[in-house]
Every structure is written in structure tokens, then in C-alpha cells.
């Protein structure tokens, strides 16, 4: 890995780490997602620190260029993460639908009881 790329990864990793700390402070993310992104940040930073270890793993797997291993790992992770978010969105949309139904039925009941009171 050239020095320029190392610097770039380091800068992004540190920046990411601070953004994450900021969101933890504001409690804008659930602990599960914070832990997930923390792991990613550490992974990014480890690329610079443990470069040789990644090269050894790549050689073991028969991959000539260690950067391919990193790229493939990151893309796979992101795809899995997007899949997880799709499942969560579907669950959320179900819950929103239930709330919509509940609110409209409740509003109907309240309206009817207030009409009865008026009479």
C-alpha cells in the first residue's frame, strides 16, 4: 500500500471515528449500529497498522493483490448491511401500517363517542 493511500485511509478512519463518537454523544444511533460502524472504523484503521497481516492472509487465500481482498470484504459487508436495512424497512413499514390502522380506528371511535355526548 502506497503512503498516499495509507494516509487517505488513516484520515477517513479517524474522521469516521469522530463522526461516530459525535453520534454516540447525541444518541442519534442505536447501540447495535454504533457497534457495527465502530467495527468498520477499526477495520479501516487496522488496514494501515496491520498491513503485513492482511498481505499474509491474501497470500494464503491465493490473492496476489491484498487490496482486492479488502475491497471485496468491504463490498460484501456493505451489501449485507443494505440487505439488513431492507429487512428493517419492511418491518418498519408493517409497524407504520398497523399504527395507521390503529389511529384511524381510534379516531373513528372518539368521533362517534363525542357525537353521542353532543346528542
Amino acid at each position: 500500500m502506497s503512503l498516499n493511500i495509507k494516509l487517505l485511509v488513516l484520515v477517513f478512519g479517524v474522521l469516521f471515528f469522530f463522526v461516530l463518537l459525535f453520534s454516540l454523544r447525541n444518541k442519534s444511533m442505536k447501540p447495535f449500529y454504533s457497534a457495527l460502524w465502530m467495527a468498520i472504523t477499526l477495520f479501516m484503521l487496522s488496514l494501515v497498522v496491520f498491513e503485513k497481516a492482511y498481505k499474509s492472509i491474501a497470500t494464503l487465500l491465493g490473492i496476489e493483490d491484498a487490496s482486492f481482498l479488502v475491497i471485496v470484504s468491504l463490498i460484501s459487508f456493505l451489501l449485507l448491511y443494505v440487505l439488513h436495512l431492507s429487512v428493517k424497512i419492511s418491518e418498519m413499514s408493517d409497524r407504520i401500517q398497523e399504527l395507521i390502522s390503529f389511529v384511524s380506528i381510534l379516531e373513528n371511535k372518539l368521533r362517534k363517542s363525542s357525537e353521542i355526548k353532543k346528542k
Partner: protein
């Protein structure tokens, strides 16, 4: 026997009056009427209020008829109805034919869902060519998978008995985005269904939900549902 007729409404200002009047004039069955409005932006809700008909208003649009059906099941279940009939607010269904979809439920306790199909006798308004082809194709596919005869999988003229109401009110999930998917889930749940011939009129006003966007979405979504159903059985 408590019967509920639900009219789904989304911007049906031009036809909701005629739809309600048609049901009010119909004496073939005794039914409560409920309009479920999917957050309309026109004056249709005001018309419903002036007619003195009971109504529910979704605080936000749920993006399709499935949201209205989900609310209808919840309402029918909560109010302990024996039969729930669904009609669209576009005045394409005839209230005089409500008895055709309710009748089999009253006579045969083994039947849980009755669908009014315009493609059995092939009378009345038959919809556009593209829609007919799509409906035919998916009706055949769903019939093949379920080994049960489906003739009009997008029909919005359906009656459900108490067992079906309970099932859908407590099991309705995101996998059901259309009537077709609902039919598949119903079949998987062991609910018995029947198609009966009905007449359908041409839309007198307003804009149909069936546009180019839905024409593309409908086959894709249904195809995915079919795959899901097949995988479940393997």
C-alpha cells in the same frame, strides 16, 4: 349476522356519491357501510360526511389498496363482524351483486372467501387489453401453483367470512401488497375460496390506480410472491 361493506376511497370525488347511493338503494342484503379514506386530497371525504356514512381516515396515504384492506380487516375484527365485503369507491362494482359474493358465505360454512370475477361470464367492462393479458397470465400461474381456479386475481369485489377476517386481521404482513398476494397467503393458510361471476361497469370518473408504473410493478411483485410461495412449499 353482522355484515360490513367497506368502500375504499382515494380521490374518488367524482364517483363516491354514486357508489354509496347504489349501496343505500340496494335492499338485497342488510349491511353496515364504512368508507375508508386513504388520505384523499380532493373533496370526497366531505361528500361522505354529508351523506352521513361512517368513515375512517388514514392520517397518511399508505400507497395502495392493501393499506385500506389491512385497516378494514382490523376494523371488522375489532367490531366482531361476521362478513366483510370490499368494494372500490370508483362505482365500477354493482351493489345489487353484493348478494352474489355474500350468498355463498351464508350458504356454505366451508367457504371463507368469495371473489367477484368479471372474467367468468365475460360480460360488462373487461378492462384494458394490457391489464387483461396480465390478469390472465397471473390467474393461470396462481391457479397452477394452488391447484384452485382463479379467474380475476385483481378483483376488488370480495367477501370474507369471520375465519378469514380473523386470519388477516392478525396475520397481515408486508408480503401482502396486492389482492393477488393476499389470495396466495389465503390459500397457504388453508382458507377455502370461490370465484363467482359478476358484472363490472366502466369507471365513470376519476383516475384509475392502474397506470404505467403499476403495470410494471404488478407483474414483478407478483412474480416475487410466486417464488416465495413455491419456496415455502419445498
Amino acid at each position: 349476522m353482522k355484515i360490513l361493506t367497506v368502500i375504499s376511497n382515494y380521490n374518488e370525488e367524482e364517483s363516491i356519491f354514486a357508489t354509496i347511493q347504489d349501496i343505500l338503494k340496494n335492499k338485497s342484503i342488510e349491511t353496515d357501510i364504512l368508507v375508508i379514506d386513504n388520505s384523499s386530497t380532493d373533496g370526497s371525504v366531505q361528500i361522505v360526511k354529508e351523506l352521513g356514512i361512517d368513515y375512517l381516515i388514514h392520517p397518511v396515504n399508505t400507497g395502495g389498496s392493501s393499506g385500506v384492506i389491512k385497516t378494514a380487516f382490523a376494523y371488522a375484527y375489532y367490531h366482531d363482524y361476521d362478513i366483510y365485503c370490499h368494494m372500490d369507491g370508483d362505482n365500477q362494482h354493482l351493489a345489487s351483486e353484493l348478494i352474489k359474493i355474500v350468498g355463498p358465505l351464508l350458504k356454505d360454512k366451508c367457504i371463507d372467501i368469495v371473489t367477484g370475477s368479471r372474467y367468468i361470464n365475460k360480460e360488462g367492462f373487461q378492462s384494458t387489453f394490457i391489464r387483461r393479458v396480465t390478469i390472465f397470465f397471473f390467474s393461470k400461474m396462481i391457479s397452477l401453483i394452488t391447484k384452485s381456479k382463479f379467474t380475476d386475481i385483481t378483483s376488488g369485489f370480495i367477501a370474507y367470512n369471520k375465519k378469514a377476517i380473523k386470519f388477516f386481521a392478525t396475520n397481515f404482513k408486508h408480503e401482502i401488497e396486492s389482492i393477488t398476494q393476499l389470495s396466495l397467503v389465503a390459500y397457504d393458510a388453508g382458507l377455502k375460496r370461490l370465484d363467482v361471476p359478476v358484472l363490472m361497469k366502466r369507471r365513470s370518473g376519476g383516475v384509475s390506480e392502474f397506470n404505467i408504473q403499476n403495470a410494471i410493478k404488478f407483474p414483478i411483485y407478483n412474480f416475487i410472491s410466486f417464488i416465495g410461495t413455491i419456496i415455502k412449499r419445498v
